[in-house]
């Protein structure tokens, strides 16, 4: 890895993490990664890729079948002080439906030692969520905002958010992202958010975890990842040349006259009549999503670099 990643502090680390569900098989397999502290990580992958499983394992809502999780450098345990440092907002935003909004806040305050009631109340006022309303009578978007308010009010060091923006209108989405960025800048929090909307992620996140079919496909800083890939546009024969280095090709598209390809590394910059450029982050992610078998993760001890991993 590059010098910048050499002595980095991780808020969350997994080693060989895996989870199998009976006969449905592995939801997550052999996942080794680090979420850098004080940063904003985008967790991306198609439905069923293992994103939710990874988040549930990270907070101890699921027990791993293999491997382990470390939060803040310590193995995940049930200690109250560990739990106070992590906030998790699940995709279905579980809240007590018979509580009022105010009772929900009080519950958050009683169960979380560092709860910032003032911040939480200001956020709810700003979103015009009435305190005496029953949670069960809130709209889906309002419930999401309430769940995120609890998570932010907790002043956690690590915020794990599973599809937090899915049912928010554009203004609320912008405000939530702004509040999360503020928690990172002011409180030094670490944020992991999963989303299908790449546009929400490209400007707010700076680190990527890409999952496909339960396996880690790519993991790294945005800048490092894009600098380590190229988009090539060249003649049809370019595809034949690239066939000689299958391990470098993430995705390839060929017509009768033209080849476009997303490749790893800069080795292919000088093929004849070929233009090479660095991909934007969304182009890189799309390339990997189109080829779930490709991986940017070196598998030590299996094959020499650049051989045999992708087809």
């Amino acid at each position: 890895m590059s010098p910048t990643t050499a002595n980095r502090r991780y808020a969350l680390e997994t080693t060989g993490l895996g989870r199998r569900y009976g006969r449905r098989g592995w939801a997550l397999r052999d996942c080794t990664l680090g979420i850098p502290a004080g940063r904003v990580t985008a967790l991306v992958g198609p439905n069923g890729a293992g994103k939710t499983t990874l988040l549930h394992l990270a907070v101890g809502l699921l027990t791993p079948t293999t491997g382990q999780v470390r939060v803040g450098g310590r193995p995940l345990g049930g200690r109250a002080e560990d739990l106070a440092r992590v906030a998790f907002v699940a995709q279905d935003k579980p809240l007590f439906r018979s509580f009022t909004v105010a009772e929900t806040l009080r519950f958050g305050q009683v169960t979380n030692p560092r709860f910032d009631r003032e911040l939480a109340e200001a956020r709810l006022r700003a979103h015009r969520i009435p305190p005496d309303q029953k949670v069960g009578r809130l709209s889906g978007g309002q419930r999401t905002l309430l769940a995120l308010t609890l998570a932010l009010g907790k002043r956690a060091e690590l915020l794990l958010l599973d599809e937090p923006l899915a049912d928010l209108d554009p203004l609320a989405r912008h405000e939530v992202l702004g509040a999360l960025m503020s928690a990172v800048e002011e409180g030094g929090a670490t944020v992991v958010l999963s989303s299908h909307h790449l546009t929400d992620l490209t400007e707010t996140c700076d680190h990527l975890v890409l999952l496909a079919r339960g396996r880690l496909q790519a993991c790294g800083d945005f800048d490092e990842l894009t600098a380590a890939h190229r988009i090539l546009t060249g003649p049809a024969e370019l595809a034949d040349r690239l066939a000689g280095a299958p391990g470098d090709v993430v995705h390839l598209d060929r017509t009768a006259r033209q080849t476009t390809a997303l490749v790893r590394g800069t080795r292919h910059d000088h093929h004849p009549a070929t233009v090479s450029r660095e991909p934007a982050l969304d182009e890189l992610v799309l390339g990997y999503l189109r080829n779930p078998d490709a991986t940017a993760i070196p598998r030590p001890g299996l094959v020499p670099a650049g051989e045999g991993e992708a087809r």
């Binding site: 503020s182 400007e203 090479s276």
Partner: protein
């Protein structure tokens, strides 16, 4: 696009407000740099004025904190602003009244290039496409691949 929301409580009145054009293709950090330079050039920001804090910017524009730090570092490197640790970032210099857009020499060079492009058979759309590509690449910090230019 204006994302200003009514739900923010503003404590200290800022002199400028950043806006992000999400479709411009210009990286967010360069947009921030340009907006500060522009505000200084137009006199909206004067020496001694404080820039919005990083926390204010990330909350208002919803961008990664590193983007703001990178922009402010670049402005500091250029001597336009100075960071006072624990206090904030302040405008230090004013940009000279010279407006590069009105620099006659640059204009003449560009006019010569446009004339050459027309002689080479490019129409207005072709010229704009080449110009936009070159500008976008120049300001994205990446170099234009010469083989990708005009045929």
């Amino acid at each position: 696009m204006n994302h200003d929301s009514t739900i923010r409580l503003v404590k200290r009145e800022n002199v400028i407000r950043f806006q992000l054009d999400r479709r411009s293709g210009v990286s967010p950090y360069l947009q921030l740099v340009h907006q500060v330079r522009q505000a200084i050039r137009l006199g909206h920001l004067r020496p001694g004025d404080q820039l919005p804090t990083a926390r204010e910017v990330v909350e208002q524009v919803a961008i990664n904190p590193n983007t703001v730090h990178k922009a402010y570092r670049e402005l500091e490197r250029d001597g336009l602003v100075a960071a006072r640790p624990g206090v904030g970032t302040f405008v230090q210099a004013s940009l000279s009244a010279r407006r590069p857009a009105e620099d006659p020499a640059l204009r003449v060079q560009l006019a010569d290039w446009v004339a050459a492009a027309r002689r080479a058979g490019l129409d207005e759309d072709d010229v704009r496409a080449v110009f936009d590509t070159v500008v976008r690449h120049a300001f994205a910090g990446t170099s234009v691949d010469r083989s990708g230019g005009v045929a």
